[in-house]
């Protein structure tokens, strides 16, 4: 459980540092294809981390996070197409502002409800965004989508390789990694802040939280915006990596993927969504390569997961270590 986990920054760093070192060395040891694959994984991890602030910490299942991911990506595409902007930093700022504005409005509507009503509302609103992207094809390119060229990094301060693969597997990989680290740290602080405690209290017992003077709806609304903001940042980073944005990423099965990978990693732990996102990314990539029935394969994984490992990869690992430690203690 997130609450019971040690909040000591040092202990968390002990896990984080080796992982960061491996990620930093990755472009030197694996093929560019593998590095790019990891970029996708890290981006989805940011999205899942945001999603899990609602599911794991606030107890709200959003089935509409595709909207915020897609919004981030489409804002980048619009900035390229209509404003001729290529700066990655401006993408991040513009995309984040747009996502926060939309989540603020959607949030006001959604946080009035909980449970299935919340899930359905978030899904319905995401479908509205999807249909806009789908129908207003003269603006959004419809199903053809919009192209996103190689962006400039730090206003041209960093020389960008001409070769797209070299750019994506090196410069852009490190860019994504740095943003990833910043947002993981940010989320870690948020869930261990007084506000994060209030969210967990709301998750456990809404009535009592209200009777402690916690403004439940307001807290949920802020959590909703942070959650959407994180997922929006993921969409912003994803756009130049993918080079093309299509309405697929706004469609509800993509929301389902975010739910899936979070459950896969374990929504009861802080690191679960990160692990789940990276694992799911490999799983999906190789399943697609392996068989045309890849969805069948993913479906089977999901069933096994729910039946056998309801706490996900990290939850199960955590339990195993506890058991092993317990055995040693005897």
């Amino acid at each position: 459980m997130p609450a019971a986990a040690a909040a000591s920054p040092l202990r968390s760093l002990a896990y984080a540092v080796p992982v960061v070192i491996i990620l930093l060395m990755l472009p030197y040891v694996v093929t560019p294809y593998q590095t790019i694959l990891m970029s996708y994984g890290l981006i989805m991890a940011i999205a899942a981390l945001g999603f899990n602030l609602l599911l794991g910490y606030t107890g709200l299942l959003s089935f509409g996070h595709s909207a915020y991911f897609g919004l981030g990506a489409y804002v980048v595409a619009f900035m390229v197409k209509y404003l001729h902007i290529t700066s990655m930093e401006l993408f991040l700022i513009g995309g984040l502002i747009a996502t926060l504005l939309v989540t603020a409005v959607f949030g006001i509507i959604c946080v009035r409800y909980t449970r299935i009503f919340f899930a359905i509302l978030t899904m319905a609103l995401s479908q509205v965004v999807w249909s806009l992207a789908f129908k207003f094809f003269w603006v959004t390119g419809g199903t053809d989508g919009l192209r996103i060229p190689t962006p400039t990094i730090l206003n041209g301060l960093l020389t960008v390789p001409k070769n797209k693969i070299a750019f994506l597997s090196n410069t852009y990989y490190y860019y994504v990694l740095i943003v990833f680290i910043i947002f993981v740290a940010l989320m870690w602080v948020i869930v261990h802040s007084p506000f994060g405690q209030a969210l967990q209290a709301i998750r456990d017992n809404e009535t009592r939280a209200a009777f402690l003077g916690v403004r439940v709806r307001r807290a949920r609304w802020i959590a909703f915006m942070i959650s959407g903001g994180f997922t929006g940042v993921a969409g912003i980073l994803w756009a130049p990596l993918n080079g093309l944005t299509t309405p697929d990423i706004l469609y509800w099965p993509f929301s389902g993927e975010i739910v899936f990978l979070t459950v896969l990693g374990g929504f009861g732990t802080f690191a679960g969504p990160i692990v789940g996102a990276v694992a799911f990314n490999y799983l999906k990539t190789y399943a697609v390569g392996l068989t045309v029935y890849w969805q069948l394969l993913l479906g089977s994984v999901l069933i096994v997961l729910v039946l056998a490992l309801p706490t996900g990869i990290m939850g199960t690992l955590g339990r195993l270590t506890m058991t092993i430690k317990g055995e040693e203690g005897k």
């Binding site: 909040a7 506000f195 405690q197 209030a198 017992n205 009592r208 209200a210 003077g213 916690v214």
Partner: protein, 264 residues
């Protein structure tokens, strides 16, 4: 509704903390609270008694803001709070505990109490500060746990505590809000007789030393006669009797109801 100036005229000259006037709440055909005039004076410990369905919990729910009354007025510290939300009532100094223990089961006992203090200090809005670094709040949380004899349990999940400890923690969490007025809904239900006196001794000590006015809903008449200075008895949504333990003992009407009820 009664005009406000009339209400103030009706205010007794002594230190009234809370007053309800003709308070009504019905659930369908059932009049849970039926025209109740209820007065609580500053600093007193009052027991609210009556059989199941007498309207005690409904009255507490109306005062604490969990329910909205159909009609009537609630005056707290001379201010009409009838239509205020839960948040405003807590800010005004009204806190409550719950009959069925109402805690954050996946948080530790320490975290349960700490949340109260954070909330009271307006810190639950802090996003970019580690909660563990707030040593002031930490210290105060431990002190509250200590007062309730729960210092050894601080690291345990609330869901893993024994029933008696959960009951105490429930009160401790409300107490940590520093209320002027504390409503306790059956703080000793579901625990053994021996534990009851431990819980009530603790509550009594904490309430008195903090100068807190308390209304305690209680079924056990031994507990009521031992700890309450005043007893208000409800029956079918109305107040049937109101007086000191001795007066209540002498009141035959009450005695009959008690004998007919579940208190024998």
């Amino acid at each position: 509704m009664m005009p406000l100036d009339k209400i103030f005229q009706a205010l007794p000259a002594d230190h009234t903390l809370l007053m309800t006037r003709q308070l009504c709440k019905a659930f369908g055909e059932t009049r849970a609270v039926d025209g109740v005039d209820f007065v609580v004076r500053e600093g007193e410990v009052l027991a609210l008694v009556g059989s199941n369905g007498a309207g005690k919990t409904s009255l507490v729910n109306l005062i604490s803001g969990l329910l909205q009354p159909d009609s009537g007025t609630i005056i707290f510290q001379g201010r009409d709070i009838t239509r205020l939300g839960v948040y405003e009532r807590i800010k005004a100094g009204i806190a409550r505990s719950f009959q069925l223990v109402n805690l954050f089961d996946q948080l530790t006992a320490f975290e349960n109490v700490r949340l109260s203090i954070l909330s009271r200090q307006g810190k639950t809005r802090q996003l970019l500060r580690l909660v563990d670094r707030d040593h002031g709040v930490r210290q105060e949380s431990l002190e509250v746990l200590d007062r309730f004899g729960l210092e050894d349990k601080s690291h345990l999940l609330a869901g893993a505590l024994a029933q008696g400890e959960r009951k105490l923690l429930d009160v401790a969490v409300s107490y940590a809000l520093n209320p002027t007025f504390l409503l306790l809904d059956e703080p000793t239900s579901g625990v053994s007789t021996r534990e009851k006196s431990t819980i009530m001794d603790t509550i009594s000590e904490v309430v008195k030393s903090g100068g807190i006015t308390a209304v305690i809903i209680e079924h056990d008449m031994d507990v009521v006669f031992t700890y309450a200075a005043r007893i208000v008895m409800m029956h079918q949504g109305r107040i049937l009797a109101d007086g000191t333990p001795d007066e209540i003992r002498r009141n035959t009407e009450v005695a009959n109801t008690l004998l007919g009820g579940s208190f024998t």
